[in-house]
Symmetry: C2
Subunit: 568 residues, 2 copies
């Protein structure tokens, strides 16, 4: 601790504190109660409770003072914001720390991506702790920008801000005892090991826990979560943009187990963060669902800090950082002020922190090699497999249709909503191009495309005609990654994502505006999906059933193997 | 984890488990509930819940299965038993692990004492974790066998079974920021830092917590404990032989803070451990006091394991050691069976584990240098200060009396119950001899003596005449340390404590028998104190008010300085 003698003498009351928060109702997540006191702060740390002399006094007049909130599992890339702009979105909502898994950065940039994340998340009013991505690439059925092994994890695990190994999505690999996966757990020894095991139950779940996995954020039913909790897994109650499990999981909590639960968002869009909130939203949902406010705030703070061993975070007590939120109503939890190390960083929804020095962007990641004819599909006899979207889900269905043929080529059929989908490998200029067809977008004109495409994040485009599809690809290359809507050769809306093709380098407000414009443009082209670019981004995710398209072609994602466009 | 592939295949149900505990009501301290299931064990670890095939099945027929109990703070020397004999006493009561502070061993033998403890606590059905003694010697006003600095702590802190730095009893040194004390905290960085701050409140307590102290076991009132809990200190609810704070502290617990509490005994005599119990006794007291059984068992298991980071202990779930207790009644918690790593080690009060190979005893610690005339007191004018015992307390009172003089010497005065007390330094043959007088023992003949004498553990004797006092000293030297009662030149009862002059090398039953004989002998000599040898052992403890006698002479323990026998 810096200036320890000074702080001790302040604590003893011998010299004035820098700051005194008077007349606070402290939400004490350690003693499990709310008690009135004054809180003295010096040099960014809490030094004591009681009546202290101070150079500056902030009279809270009976308002509540709680520790700043912590997200237990978040992919910061999902907001398409840089860390400083993410902070701008969430600090007014009371967020003080986040445990992040830079899985997408790592898929594109490997260890360089993780290093960029560590560097670009410094000196912000949110403390970031990194879980090292454990499943890069997600499968061999798509071409990612990197491969991360247990040896790679060992290179970075010692970093002070690395809290452990991120979600072990290859859960069969773990419970089957595949050496490469067990080695990743071993690499994280002494730190946290996160799990990801949707629907895993029974004996295989026993084995998954036995192997050393200590958390899960994928439970969607109380029964599933309870089984995992019984096996010693810390349960991350997820409430993100699309996955909204919190309400369903609240019955899991009893008076004796809340300490083993945290809140997490996993993925949340910039607009949702700003408008709905971040972990504060989860606190509101929990309290409205009948959880005691003190318990909800423990789940939002100390439980996460303890599980991930975030030092001096998550509570209000001497030695902890003076990371506070001020609010007025336990039943309708709305953060009025956020403090970071004793500094007011947000008030009444307004972000007050200064931006840190800009961190250099990572290298370009748009390395395409393709010819226009690569996206053509020669006609053949028989039906073709088409990916059918199920709205609001990341699973798809396989349908088989008679293709529309023009000039000996299979082409999009707008009438039947069968659009062409193209995936182009963008990391290593392999020349891999996957072409298929998809139903559900309902575009009547043009094409939309994105370089956010889980998990390999290649270029993915859906369109009504080849000209617009090619235009999308060209423009995404110019933008160095992004999302775009094009019709009749014209750009309707675009968001550049030059940071790994995943994240914008623009301010929060501009990003939100451009996302709105993209959605509006897609709608104008005929699409009625709630989040067309998010839907697009999951169509390459080969571990998720049933039919997907990657740069390597059509994937039978149930059997985890390549398949053919034409049904034979 | 040893044999990980084998255990994973057992967990998956592919090969039979070694053991299956069928039809258990598992006290699941992780999910905070009791649920029926079967528990599969292989190679000493729990591998899964569910219906498994096994080479051996133990049908619990609905009995409760809880994790083995853990003592959060214990001085194993206080039982005067070696670790194997302590295990014999507590394993039938369900103890599976103990966090011990070998403070007395360290005062006598320094780091060698700690090394002996680490060595002699291996391969037992109780797992021992060591907190490194931080206050050796306790004060400069008595001569201990060793001095331990922060640098010494650094030599041993890395040991896997060292859980941190033990109780920082020099609490003013800590809150005042004395460098040597802060250096001890720094030496324990990354591990646990235990506190000891009886009655410390307010700003100085804030400073004590700020400095990094993370626990306390000295609270005697709810208010004191609550203040410490609010400041982030883990509260050890103490229930030992003499300090019985648990009942008073139960109102501290609410539905939101029990995770920050553990049970501890601090000091408990062999007989009390056998007859009353160990942590199982604390569980009974808590449940009778209205604490939910699941909470009481969490306090007795997982809370302590988590606070002290005892890996794979304190819960029943895959990867945890198969350390169980079986019992039948939640309201009257009586352990019927104790298992260690899946092996039955106690049943119906009977200890079933095999004794490990004997560990060599540490070196002799009885290095006396004295002449018979050293214990004589020349007469002078005026009154003398006399230590007055307050029954059942470790504090004393100073009284001033007119001495009885015979042949120009101050001598014991049995009529007025003013007995002679002698302390002889025993570690380094310094020749230091302290002589004083004490009221409260009521011996009519003879003398009693002990080499257990907190915290320096010099030879301490109280007697009615010099001949018997000298005999006591001679006999203690022959025994290489011990406790003894002598009258008219004859030994009435004796217990040899050749292990550092603190601990017997004899079996549990013999130690208990000899302790009983010693107490009976003291009673026969006229003493009506409940625990005369314990009272004797605290009369040299110079940090505790008001008047004490060490090898350096009479100590004004209120002002922490030497004083004179004659009042000037």
């Amino acid at each position: 601790m810096r200036n320890v003698q000074q702080k001790l003498s302040v604590a003893r009351g011998e010299r004035p504190a820098e700051l005194l928060f008077k007349n606070a109702q402290v939400v004490n997540v350690l003693s499990g109660e709310i008690h009135k006191t004054h809180v003295a702060v010096d040099d960014g740390r809490i030094v004591g409770f009681g009546d202290y002399k101070a150079r500056k006094t902030i009279n809270l007049r009976g308002a509540y003072l709680a520790p700043s909130l912590i997200d237990g599992h978040f992919h910061v890339e999902s907001s398409m914001l840089t860390a400083p702009e993410f902070a701008r979105a969430v600090v007014p909502h009371g967020t003080g720390a986040a445990v992040i898994d830079p899985h997408e950065y790592a898929n594109v940039l490997g260890l360089d991506g993780i290093r960029y994340v560590l560097e670009s998340t410094k000196n912000l009013p949110v403390d970031f702790f990194v879980m090292l991505p454990s499943c890069v690439p997600a499968t061999p059925l798509e071409t990612a920008g990197a491969r991360i092994t247990a040896d790679d994890l060992k290179l970075m695990i010692g970093d002070d801000r690395v809290a452990g190994v991120a979600e072990l999505m290859n859960f069969p690999g773990v419970f089957l005892g595949i050496k490469s996966e067990l080695a990743k757990i071993e690499a994280g020894k002494g730190k946290c090991i996160d799990g990801h095991a949707p629907g895993l139950r029974g004996k295989n779940l026993n084995a998954y826990a036995l192997a050393g996995v200590r958390s899960d954020h994928e439970s969607v039913t109380v029964e599933e979560a309870r089984e995992k909790l019984r096996l010693g897994m810390h349960i991350l109650l997820r409430e993100g943009s699309t996955e909204r499990n919190l309400q369903h999981l609240l019955p899991l909590l009893n008076a004796h187990n809340a300490q083993n639960c945290s809140f997490a968002t996993d993925d949340k869009l910039a607009g949702d963060l700003v408008n709905e909130g971040h972990i504060d939203h989860a606190v509101r949902v929990a309290i409205k669902g009948g959880v005691a406010p003190i318990t909800a705030l423990q789940i939002a703070t100390i439980n996460t800090a303890r599980h991930y061993r975030l030092q001096n975070l998550g509570a209000i007590a001497p030695r902890f950082w003076a990371d506070f939120v001020v609010f007025d109503d336990l039943k309708n939890f709305r953060v009025r002020q956020t403090y970071k190390k004793g500094v007011l960083v947000a008030e009444d929804g307004k972000y007050l922190a200064r931006s840190p020095a800009r961190v250099p962007l990572p290298r370009s990641t748009m390395n395409l090699r393709y010819r226009p004819e690569d996206i053509r599909v020669k006609a053949a006899t028989g039906k073709t497999r088409v990916i059918e979207i199920i709205p609001d889900q990341i699973v798809t269905r396989e349908v088989q249709v008679t293709p529309r043929i023009e000039a000996r080529e299979v082409v999009a059929d707008v009438e039947r909503d069968i659009l062409k989908m193209v995936v182009i490998e963008r990391h290593r200029a392999t020349g891999n191009v996957g072409v298929g067809f998809v139903r559900g977008f309902k575009l009547k004109h043009g094409a939309i495309g994105s370089t956010v495409a889980h998990d390999a994040h290649n270029v993915v485009v859906v369109g009504t005609n080849d000209t617009d599809i090619l235009r999308v690809i060209e423009e995404l290359e110019k933008l160095q990654g992004g999302q775009i809507a094009v019709a009749n050769g014209k750009i309707k809306a675009a968001l550049g994502l030059p940071v790994a093709g995943l994240v914008s380098d623009r301010p929060l407000a501009e990003v939100m505006q451009r996302i709105d414009a993209l959605n509006a443009a897609a709608q104008e082209l005929g699409c009625d999906l709630a989040a067309p670019f998010m839907t697009l981004s999951f169509l390459s995710l080969s571990p998720i059933p049933a039919l997907k398209l990657t740069d390597q072609g059509l994937i039978d994602a149930t059997k985890l193997r390549k398949t053919t466009l034409f049904v034979r």
